[in-house]
Amino acid sequence: MIEVDLDQTEIRDLNERLHRLPPDTNERAWHIVNPKGRHAIGVGLDGPITVTIDGHVGFYCAGMNKQAEVVVNGHAGPGVAENMMSGFVRVRGNASQSAGASARGGLLVIEGDTSSRCGISMKGADIVVGGSVGHMSAFMAQRGNLVVCGDAGRSLGDSIYEARLFVRGSVESLGADCVEKELRPEHLDILTKLLDRAGIRANPREFKRYGSARKLYNFNVDHAAAY
């Protein structure tokens, strides 16, 4: 395992080293210490490496990740794994707002709570939150799955497109065009597999499913008040 101390190494140097790894690299296990809330740690990774970060990270950790596995043994600032393409990102603590924003692929696991706008504009990724999510989560969520093992704040799934939302606890309110939907066997199957991959113990049958009513997909004057 290669250890990088961010008290001794600039973020620029760390990211450049990670970006320059050849596809067949043997340097696959990286251990980052003293992140101390610094921003843009491990962004733009593109390879089957594992990056373990001991401590708290700032904005955009693992942003636009491809293939890599990133584990944060701490809390994460805004936009963790934003626009992730593939791979796996795990936050052992809590995450701030916009976790997994516009993420297209891969799996983001937040073991604690996450703030507002979790999964905003998500475009195909899977996000599993062990705790609760804040307001406006899954705003304009297009594709993918958001699993919330705790509660969801107000306006969940506002203006949602085709993403699936699963919430075990309470939902303060649903956003425009977001409705509760039947939890059918195929959804239970998706949920079971996601919880399993995330390593989070929860009974899938305790969840409710939410998604788009598809009433705002094309403008209708009678729905103007919903916009």
Partner: protein, 440 residues
């Protein structure tokens, strides 16, 4: 009974077009959505004139003495700044709003002229990457089609905060233009009205923008110039904040800037014209001692080499053209007139980009209509237009005695109206009066 036409008095408050719009609103219950840019009368660069050389300064000989036009963008932080042969770039327009033929034609023409073209909402197509030697990749609030591979394939990155046609508003692409390919690029179902958010999903405010720019630089290893584009509203503050956030280049888009589909009320009533926006942006850069260090691109209603010359004289480093690009490709050309009629308009008046039924094949996804714009032909027309603009620009710059178009300066300008004098802060022609200066 015949009506005496002298008795027909038009209301100033309710002329026929206003009456028609109220009737339309009463019938449909929704605002008008359309393409193109502002149609109302606004102060423009036409309200300025250039002061050619005379005895106090001498002109350069046209065709014989050099008047260079090259410009370098992104010199502040980027490892690989962009060098363009002309200071006229192609503004961001999405695949989706435009068809693939139009995008390819734009890329070819821009490459032939040594300038850049720009992607738009919806991501980068292979056609435009292959056809554009220098391609600016937009990062928009919707994040449609955004991915790190295209970030790295781009030559520059433009973080879009706002657009002149709709500052503070998001995008809109109506369902009739959401084909399978467009929907696939945007991760949306086919045929739905596609809305783009007005704010970025993972940052708000200048402090966050600083960190967002840092992330984009990290992902691209600090190679690419980072532009920040704003719609012209509170220009002084926006430019200063973009500089503070770390932009290499700032794009200020005035309210005459075009759109593929936006509410008419937005197009006509939000933002400020390009003319005062340039001056405010330059003042803001100078106040920070960043003029020419952070480059300024101005867009919104640029139509001719004269407009370019005046924008540069006010202190811009380059301009971007959008609507004029489409017109060069054939927009509003009087051909296929019956197809203009089918969508309820005439050549010269069309702003129906939002319908996807563009009679000349520019703003459409319909394969049959697109055949009307062969990319080679479109590229030729756009190249001709860009060449003409450049020659016009050089003509005026030489007449002002400038061996480089970036040497044009405010002292080369006079205003024809009090409003333009106040907005551009150049003297009213025939006077030394600049409104607001020296206690007047």
């Amino acid at each position: 009974m015949t009506v005496d036409p002298r008795l027909l008095r038009t209301s100033h408050s309710f002329p026929p077009q206003v009456i028609q719009e109220i009737h339309r609103a009463a019938d449909q219950g929704v605002y008008e959505i359309r393409g193109f840019g502002a149609k109302r009368k606004l102060p423009t660069f036409d309200d300025l004139v250039l002061l050619g050389a005379s005895i106090s300064r001498y002109p350069l000989e046209g065709y014989r003495e050099r008047c260079d036009t090259n410009v370098v963008l992104g010199t502040r932080f980027a490892k690989k700044p962009i060098e363009l042969k002309i200071p006229i770039t192609i503004a961001g327009m999405s695949f989706g709003a435009l068809g693939a033929h139009a995008k390819e034609a734009i890329g070819r023409a821009a490459t032939a002229m040594g300038t850049s073209s720009t992607t738009g909402d919806g991501g980068m197509t292979q056609e435009e990457r292959l056809s554009s030697k220098t391609l600016v990749y937009q990062v928009l609030p919707s994040r449609y089609g955004l991915n790190p591979d295209d970030l790295r394939r781009a030559d520059a990155i433009e973080v879009v905060v706002g657009q002149g046609a709709k500052p503070g508003g998001g995008g809109m692409l109506l369902g009739q233009k959401i084909t399978e390919r467009v929907a696939g690029m945007r991760d949306l179902p086919v045929g739905i009205d596609q809305r783009s958010a007005c704010r970025h999903p993972d940052w708000t405010g200048p402090d966050d923008l600083t960190i967002k720019i840092q992330e984009l630089r990290e992902i691209t290893d600090w190679e690419k110039p980072i532009y920040v584009k704003v719609g012209a509203t509170r220009v002084t503050y926006d430019v200063a904040l973009a500089v503070k956030a770390g932009a290499d280049v700032i794009v200020v888009d005035g309210m005459q800037g075009g759109t593929a589909a936006t509410q008419d009320v937005f197009i006509e009533h939000a933002g400020i014209p390009t003319l005062p926006a340039v001056r405010l942006a330059v003042e803001s850069l100078k106040e920070l001692d960043m003029h020419r260090k952070v480059q300024l691109i101005v867009s919104g209603g640029i139509r001719s080499g004269a407009d370019v010359a005046k924008a540069l004289a006010l202190g811009a480093d380059a301009v971007a053209i959008g609507v004029a690009t489409l017109i060069a490709l054939g927009c509003n050309r009087p051909v296929y007139v019956e197809d203009y009629h089918k969508i309820g308009t005439e050549p010269g008046y069309c702003h129906h980009c939002h319908t996807g039924r563009c009679p000349v094949g520019v703003t459409t996804q319909d394969p049959e209509l697109e055949q009307r714009l062969p990319p080679e032909q479109g590229a030729r027309m756009l190249k001709n237009y860009l060449t003409t603009m450049t020659l016009e620009l050089q003509t005026l710059a030489r007449a002002c005695g400038k061996s480089h178009v970036l040497n044009l300066e405010p002292e080369d300008l006079a205003a024809l109206t009090v409003e333009a004098a106040a907005m551009a802060q150049v003297p009213l022609a025939g006077t030394n009066w600049i409104p607001g200066k020296n206690g007047y």
